[in-house]
Subunit: 246 residues, 2 copies
């Protein structure tokens, strides 16, 4: 039995519902971070580990370009790499993430080396890069749609960090304020593209599965962070509080 | 500066030392399991999630065969697939794992479906399969050398399960008793192969790194299990106690 395709509105609603149910704004680590309950060691552990995610995003987007045969689509998608990598000498999300690292007292070279990232973080992030390289085009694109849910959490984060932590100011948390303007343009384009092109039920299911997968990638990183640094079970070889300080 | 190669004895000692420091026999979940402190829900969660590892091992070994140009090496390595997959109608480690699933009260079809496996488990196991597919041959082989450390943990497990859990008998835990005889032949061959072929310092470093990586794959699975089912933070979509029962 072939299932009828979902309407455009239903597909969009189902994509958004994945965010309601599974996006990592619901994870207890974020409640802890945004309400000022994290110790500085926990904040540092978050910065060290999330570097793995941030620094892999431009490679994820390059993986997408590497299998995208449509030059028009590549030209638009390329701005994601520019947003994260910046120019030869300045700018870009990963440089802004290292500014945050400095502000929380970490040596940015230590953070940029990736030493100390938990294996579980690497496994999750690598799964994302490979998903985008290997999966059907619609799935690869749809996996980026967690950005639909990101402005709300970035807003909460900016407010929570500024209110509760001495390190937070407009310079140190510029990564998040930039994402507030960058993400919406990407997401508007990609959501439309997915809704336009996922017209069979099979492709729609792929798109929904891809977005679910991506929420799992984000959630697993925070589970590992909590287990390691809130519950205090740091895996062998991972960053120890006190390591890599400025 | 080029580093001198390690002697054969030193390389072997350094490989074994990785086991002393990082093998998952040191993980608190195993102490809990082998001493009878796990609830049946925790045992079931372990069986559900470790299925992902068990069932991926023959694909991992097929990935190895798929990039191995030496027929002699392929012929020897192939027995690993046979050990795990068994024959068309019977035998094999993954069938024995499903026997264990039944014995602990789980529907073997549910377990075999892989539904309910935690995303973090999948990310770790997939990282292993891909490592073996993509990395240099020596690293791909060396990553299997955690089997050097397995007989001790299987011995403890057999003894601990039989002593503490009503479900345990020679039938239900046959997976582990078989591994006691299967693993040593594999490991003797592979250890010798790695010691014979890793003669430059670069290849030796690759071998040591590969074995460390593999300990991380195993450790991350138990960290996720503990966080989800001992500490009680089950990620969205993962197995819930009571699900998939016989």
């Amino acid at each position: 039995m072939t299932l009828h395709p979902l309407t455009r509105a239903t597909l969009e609603a189902q994509l958004r519902q994945i965010g309601v149910e599974r996006y990592h704004d619901r994870h207890p680590f974020h409640a802890r971070l945004h309400s000022g309950q994290c110790s500085m060691a926990e904040v540092q552990a978050w910065v060290v580990n999330r570097w793995q995610y941030q620094s892999s995003i431009p490679m994820k987007d390059a993986a997408f370009l590497s299998r995208c045969t449509d030059p028009a689509l590549r030209r638009i998608w390329r701005s994601r790499i520019e947003d994260h990598d910046g120019g030869v000498d300045e700018g870009g999300g990963i440089r802004r993430w290292l500014k945050l690292a400095e502000a929380v007292g970490l040596d940015p070279d230590y953070v940029a080396s990736g030493r100390g990232v938990m294996p579980a973080t690497r496994f999750a992030v690598d799964a994302y890069v490979r998903f985008v390289r290997d999966q059907p085009l619609i799935a690869a694109m749809a996996s980026s749609l967690t950005e639909m849910f990101a402005p709300a959490i970035h807003g909460q984060r900016i407010e929570g960090l500024l209110k509760h932590y001495a390190f937070a100011n407009s310079d140190s948390i510029a990564y998040f304020s930039h994402r507030l303007s960058e993400a919406p343009k990407d997401v508007a384009f990609t959501l439309n593209w997915v809704l336009d092109h996922a017209v069979t039920r099979a492709d729609q299911t792929d798109a929904l599965r891809a977005l679910t997968f991506k929420t799992e990638v984000l959630w697993a990183q925070l589970d590992a962070l909590w287990h390691g640094y809130v519950a205090g079970n740091i895996p062998p070889g991972a960053w120890q509080p006190g390591e890599g300080q400025l």
